[in-house]
Amino acid sequence: MPPSTRRGLAIATAIALLATSAACSGDDGGSPGRGPVPGVTDTEIVVGTHMPLTGPASAGYSKIAPATKAYFDYVNANGGVHGRKITYKIMDDGYNPANTQQVVRQLVLQDKVFAVLNGLGTPTHTGVLDFLKSNRVPDLFVASGSRSWDQPDKYPGTFGFNPDYTVEGKILANHVKTALPGKKVCFLGQDDDFGRDSLAGVEQVLGAGAVVAKQTYVTSNTNVAPQIGAFKAAGCEVVVLATVPGFTALAVGTAARLGFKPQWLVSNVGADHPTLAKQLGEAAPLLEGMIGVNYLPMQNDTANPWIQLFTKVNKEHNGDAPFDGNTVYGMAVGYLFVQVLQAAGKDLTRESVLAAVSRGGYQGPGLAPLRFSETDHSGYGGERLTRVSGGVQAYFGPAYETDEGDGPVREYTAAPVTPPANGIPTAS
């Protein structure tokens, strides 16, 4: 066989291989049903998501999608939404944007999902925004606090979920302003939009010159001693952290090593006490007094009816996996999506679901308002402060709401709602 023939053969075989695998999957993959709406039949709604289930970034996050799925299974077991059961396809992208490209296309083009729900990560999800837009796929409740999701003109089908990092920064800074006036404030942030947006929020409230020392870290360098050392040298009394959990623990641990004990104020992303305590192990008491922010019920608040509901769902449909903040988050996303499906009505289309989200007015487990409207695609617009006391993280004070601009930080006074008796929202 001359080499060129062999190479040609190799090409041909490769193509044939792909073609056959396509033919195999072509029949079972699509099943678009009778209606023209992708992923929706009379009995089923297929939605998908991309999550890091493996790799360095998967810690904690890998529990979110299974929790959402468990909630859907709970709903399905109780008759589904308008007679349709929800199938949730979870794709692992390992927090690698290149993988996200592949798996989201697989979800949309091959699995023909109705919508992408709660895709996780700023760099990963940014890469598929244009693709989802050009395929008119609803892109709901992105799991990241980036401000990129709130661009109704550019990405009409994309909606956020988390409070954005600027809102967080403003609420944390507001606490410094009112409860810790006159203290020297310093800031440690991740070297990306997370840290940047958060710092912008802090400086919005405290003024541009108020932060004495600003440091950044990169996730590829786990030694934060130089940064913490600089804080100590600058005499910081309050340190605001825009950090992921691992680096919150590192910062707190390193500070203790250096005999530096400031008041910590931590962004929601990096403030989950069980996660931090687990990581610090015996050094967990260092977290005492740490102030954080959150907008969903505390997983340890067993008196909360939402926690009771989610614990039950977790037990019945999630193999009784360890119950933590990520579980609550995943189920809250599931609850909101079911609310939206109910609101979109029996005649489900991609347009109707987007219209339903834009109508706004959703109330669920969240402590702060969801801001959805025609012109606002950001998620939760506020948070409530938490404090670790006696090894237990609990809310204190009122919930706050604000915007990502120069609006004031206001108390949010609406009373929290309780879940419906059967735990499933109804069409309102």
């Binding site: 050392g229 959990p245 691992g246 990581q279």
Partner: protein, 292 residues
């Protein structure tokens, strides 16, 4: 000045661990001419063993010993069960196999323990002692220094003063002749893997409590730093590994402290290029003995 002292000591205490890990890489390179890309994953696996043993017995030190023992066993197992069967004519093959091992080990750890961070205990306080108003080393840092010191001295003793060390060196340098002289070369190779993996396990036990915690990927970044250290020092030279490790530790600390942590990867590349362009075989490369 305080800051300089602080950054220097902090850099040295990290560097000591990089040195130990680099030493593990050098051991295998010298014994088998393989850059063991699975070293990090293997060390993490032994740290999980320590975690389980400590959790079951409540003793840090039992876990510590279990990790070292597991390291020795794992190293021997990798050699006997996998590397022995790899065609070494192309040096790429063992590299790819090692990468396959990384995937396998990390996946298995993820299945057994979950892809979550687990706490990694430190046996001594990590709070720095203050001398003349400057925060210097913590008891834990001193422990790390001592442990790495013991390993360095111990390895040097084994290799230069004992019969088995002589056998191991001979088997690495001249396998055929060594066999003719009655040296069980295959056994020495396995022993080399075991020792290296044991040292790697120690390095893992020392470094993981100072990092994010126990996770299947906990050693990924340490591996990159340690490999850099080993290359800077010269892969054939154990003293080179120690010097390279300390140099990389110091460099990372100074650059983070004075220039910003985002510049550390660039600094590492500059160090590598600066050293290798002057000495292509690393700082401690043997004097161009045989270039054939």
């Amino acid at each position: 000045m305080d800051r300089f002292v602080f950054l220097t000591l902090d850099g040295l205490s990290r560097g000591a661990v990089y040195a130990a890990f680099a030493l593990a890489l050098v051991l295998i390179w010298r014994a088998a001419r393989i850059v063991n890309f699975a070293q990090g994953a293997m060390a993490v696996a032994t740290a999980y063993v320590a975690y389980s043993v400590s959790a079951a017995t409540g003793s840090y030190w039992l876990g510590f010993l279990a990790a070292l023992a597991a390291g020795l066993l794992l190293g021997a197992a990798v050699d006997l069960a996998v590397m022995r069967f790899v065609d070494h004519r192309s040096p790429l093959n063992p590299v790819i196999v090692a990468l396959g091992l990384v995937l396998l080990i990390q996946a298995v750890l993820g299945m057994v323990y979950g892809n979550e961070f687990l706490p990694a205990e430190a046996p001594f306080s990590r709070s720095a002692l203050t001398v003349a108003g400057v925060a210097v080393l913590s008891p834990y840092d001193l422990f790390a220094f001592a442990a790495v010191g013991v390993v360095v001295v111990g390895l040097a003793w084994i290799f230069t003063r004992t019969a088995v060390g002589l056998r191991m060196r001979a088997a690495a340098f001249a396998p055929e002749v060594s066999r003719l002289l009655g040296v069980n070369v295959g056994g020495m190779l396995t022993l080399g893997w075991a020792l290296a993996s044991g040292v790697g396990a120690l390095a893992g036990m020392l470094v993981i409590p100072t990092e994010l915690g126990l996770h299947p990927h906990a050693m990924d970044l340490v591996f990159v730093s340690a490999f850099t250290a080993a290359v800077v020092g010269g892969l054939d030279s154990p003293p080179g590994a120690v010097v390279g490790g300390l140099a990389v530790g110091l460099l990372l600390s100074y650059v983070s402290g004075y220039a910003g942590s985002d510049l550390t990867p660039l600094a590492v590349l500059v160090l590598l290029l600066a050293v290798l362009l002057v000495r292509p075989g690393g700082l401690f490369a043997p004097v161009a003995a045989r270039r054939v």
